[in-house]
Symmetry: C6
Subunit: 232 residues, 6 copies
């Protein structure tokens, strides 16, 4: 069983790099960063379950929080997207609140969050201010010449409004992540210290540490969901 898990990891997460020497500082930073992701995910409704979290470096990453969806979805709700943004920024929030500094390690999370927020606004019409419109250019028929030199199809002022809305979404998600971590900072420390010691934790081990009972959540739009998340 353990071998099977190992093989799946190699495919999904890259080969383990035990040989790589990581300083204690970086290990600690990574443990808190990943625990931040985990805690935010566990505190929000409708999230994909955390399968595993690890600080054993694989490929280019120093650590990884692995979330696997329970079913094959084709569409995502605005609420799901907003919670994903908070989940993405959970690692950075933990670094900031516990270690009192920011690090370059959150660069990838920030990039993913910016892209998601931009899609919510520019492709999925999820901003009240910008309305049910598409912004940008989605070139379907590509051939050399036509596409080269094409311009974005909106004005500077609209570009500024998009910037402001994207920033508002991401910063709201950061606030949400920070408030979750501040409230449960003891749980975060417990999780991070256990992770530092064991280097890898499975979903049920995480639940035990966070004292979460058998997960009863199923759908995406429960009552609980509505009370927590406010309409943007």
């Amino acid at each position: 069983m353990s071998e099977l898990e190992d093989a799946k990891d190699k495919i999904l997460m890259g080969v383990e790099r035990k040989s790589l020497l990581i300083s204690d500082d970086e290990k600690r930073l990574t443990a808190y960063h990943e625990s931040g992701h985990v805690l935010v995910s566990k505190s929000l409704p409708g999230m994909d379950p955390i399968h595993k979290v690890t600080i054993i470096p694989r490929g280019m990453a120093l650590g990884l929080t692995q979330a696997l969806p329970i079913d094959e979805r084709r569409t995502y709700s605005k609420k799901y997207c907003l919670n994903q943004l908070a989940f993405m920024l959970g690692g950075r929030a933990a670094e900031k609140l516990v270690l009192g500094d920011l690090s370059t390690g959150a660069g990838n999370d920030i990039e993913k969050a910016t892209k998601l927020a931009r899609k919510m606004i520019c492709q999925w019409g999820m901003s009240e201010r910008l309305g049910p419109l598409t912004y940008g250019e989605k070139q379907e028929e590509i051939f050399l010449g036509r596409e080269i030199g094409m311009h974005r199809d909106y004005s500077e002022q609209t570009a500024r409004e998009i910037d402001e809305e994207v920033k508002k979404l991401v910063e709201a998600a950061e606030s949400l992540a920070e408030s979750i971590i501040k409230k449960d900072i003891k749980k975060l420390k417990k999780l991070a210290e256990t992770l530092l010691e064991k280097e890898i934790l499975a979903g049920d081990e995480i639940d035990k540490i966070l004292q979460i009972k058998k997960n009863k959540r199923k759908g995406k739009n429960t009552e609980d969901d509505k009370s927590r998340q406010k309409e943007n």
Copy 2:
């Protein structure tokens, strides 16, 4: 007869994907989304008749509302275009009003509506504010070098005015779609629940559910049309 219909569907809509597992949540979302399109179409004059609506996934789409024109048209009136915009946003309006959330599933509708609104203003001179002018660049003679790096042929301020007019058109269409659905929300629910159950509905089945008598509409510019639609 049923086999013929099936063959036509394969060509027009892609092969049925019964094997694909769709969660109940997504099925429900899709049923309400498609029913939104249908209800808006049935409530506006001069629309192309709905041939069929389905929530059986085909190709990339989870559902489809199929409208077929009664004759081969070459030109479209501004009123027809405005009603098409509302029809396109009917799915999203239904999601919003019944399920209380937005989803990524409306992304394609939004894109189509934005493109149509932009054409109305930039190619067909259908905006009072921007007048009977063409905005943009329609490169007829294309050769490498000439076209590369060509710029849009209007100023930033004009670009902003176009943005504002496009947004106004699409948001007016959204309001129209929402008001139609709010007024007949019971019909929408009845349609969606029947669709959830049967997975596919033909044009006459839809008419029966919505209690529409034999369609007497023929032309595009009836008196009825004029009273409903106001000049932009």
Copy 3:
């Protein structure tokens, strides 16, 4: 003689497409659109004579108004250009005033009018406000590298001034076209209804319908011309 005319048409206007089924609505729209062009042309001095007008579809067009110059000109006056603009927008003006709606069918006229107005201002120095200057880039010596990425050679504010002047020219032409059609709306209807019936009208038939005596106009700058057209 009729065969010769037919052969000339095939070359100039594409092969007749009698097989194409056009709805009565579109035929009527086309008849009024083409009659609008004809009426405006007949009401302005110095225009090229109308050779023929037809609503038999040829190539991509549903109808055509054919104007042929009386001599081979190399230069055109500002007054001639202004009248051409009104002629181009005559079809749209007729649709708007008689049918009470706009259609996508005027897209091509709008594009031609915009291009002509832009040339008047940017290449021929025919705007008081922008003066006797060239705006834009006319690349004579083209080679890969040099031309790619070249920018428009004026500032944003100048671009805006050009936009405003182009719009002013085209909208003035639209007003001129509309005032001509409003004044002679009975003639327009007579022309359109005859065209609907006969599908094609030659120059002299048009003159008979519009009760125009043997055309006595010759030059481009008659007194009559001056009294009608005001200096821009």
Copy 4:
């Protein structure tokens, strides 16, 4: 001798196109246009002598005013450039003042004047306001990749200042040309009517018509020069 002159013309001005049918209107327009160039040139100091003026069409041009420099110059003074601008706009000024309309025929003159004014300001530092600086990009080492996509090297506001200065230079030149023609409108008419009749005039014939004595000008910066032209 006449044959030699003819051969030189073929090389410099293209083959004569006597076969081309020009309307009387266009011939008259051309005669006044070319006479405008000649009169402005003859009224300003330091100009290159007019060798010949003609309204026989050659190549793409309906007429031509041929000025040949008296020596091979490498550098040109600001005063010389300013007078050249007026010379270029002399044709248009004559059309406007005598025929009361503008024509597309001045498009080429306008383009040349705009280019010269732009060079004076952007390459030769001849504007007080923009100072002794180069504006733009003069790519000396060209290779694919580097040059493509390069931007103009100044800001929007600077671009606007350049636009304003270029326009000021060209409009000042237009005023100069117009004031010269207004003052000597009788001479212009005499020149144009003779040209209409003879179709071609040599330098000394022009001088006779304009009653100019043996040209005593030699250098470019005579006292006379200074009194007429004011510092920009």
Copy 5:
């Protein structure tokens, strides 16, 4: 041992260029420039140790300050980045304060500092004002056509805010470097004069000159660190 050191230098720093004649002026400038880097590095916590400093020209450089990290890091803290900025500007600060002039020699340092500051803000979310967002475009899937002509993904106003934040970071680092050098200008002179004489100094020689005891620093986030650096 010395040979090994020499071989390593050849790889890391290029071949020594003793033959190159350097004027006394430039040697002095270089000695003060490199000593500026060294002094700033030695005065800030958490810096990578200085391995060697030299004014023997190698490759294109007239001098070099070689800092080697104590462990293989994957992530860097905001504090570390801020100190690196000051270190990069230490050479210029020394030139300015001791020699009273700036030189082109600092161009490379300035470029490196600007790039680092821009990354801190645009990729690592280290600016309060611009928040945890990515600005710019990181093209992962590159193919000709798609990428060409792509635009920066933010508005002009956002671009301005980025400019201001980048400038603020770099100028704060310059002030830090200048204040360090002003405070210890005697040490700087001693270091520079010794370097002028010996041309190369190893890490322990530097420590002796600056009277630094055995380096006791280990981690990156000591208390000392916190008191010196203020949150941006």
Copy 6:
């Protein structure tokens, strides 16, 4: 010896073009232009010595002032750069003050001055206002696709600030050059008239004309230097 000098000239300055006929006007203009460069150079500290000045045309140039550095420098101070700007604009200043007109001949000097001023600000951090930052893009790793379409990396407002600073630097240099020439206009005339007569002057001949004793300047940062040049 004379032959050797001649050979060196051919390499450095192109082949002499005695056959080229230059008008007296242009010869005089060139003599004053080159003398302007020489006088400014001789009046500023730390300049590279003038080896030779000539008005014999070589290659594309009508004249040349040849300055050769006394040693191989790698770095240049801000003061040296500022004096170079004045030297570059010395020719134009002489034309303006003595001949009362500007000419196209200064275009190359203006371009060189603009480029140097831009580098001082954008690459070498020599502007107080724009600080120790790099502005622009210096593509080190070039490959097709990545580089094409890259944008300038700063905002419009920053672009404007750069424009203003570049202009300020160049105009200050022009003022410096003009004040030097105004003060010593007699020396300029003597130099230019001798040059007109002899067509070529060596460094020591220039010194004799300008009554300069054996040059005692050596370094670049003398006291004299400081009193003249003010901090930008």
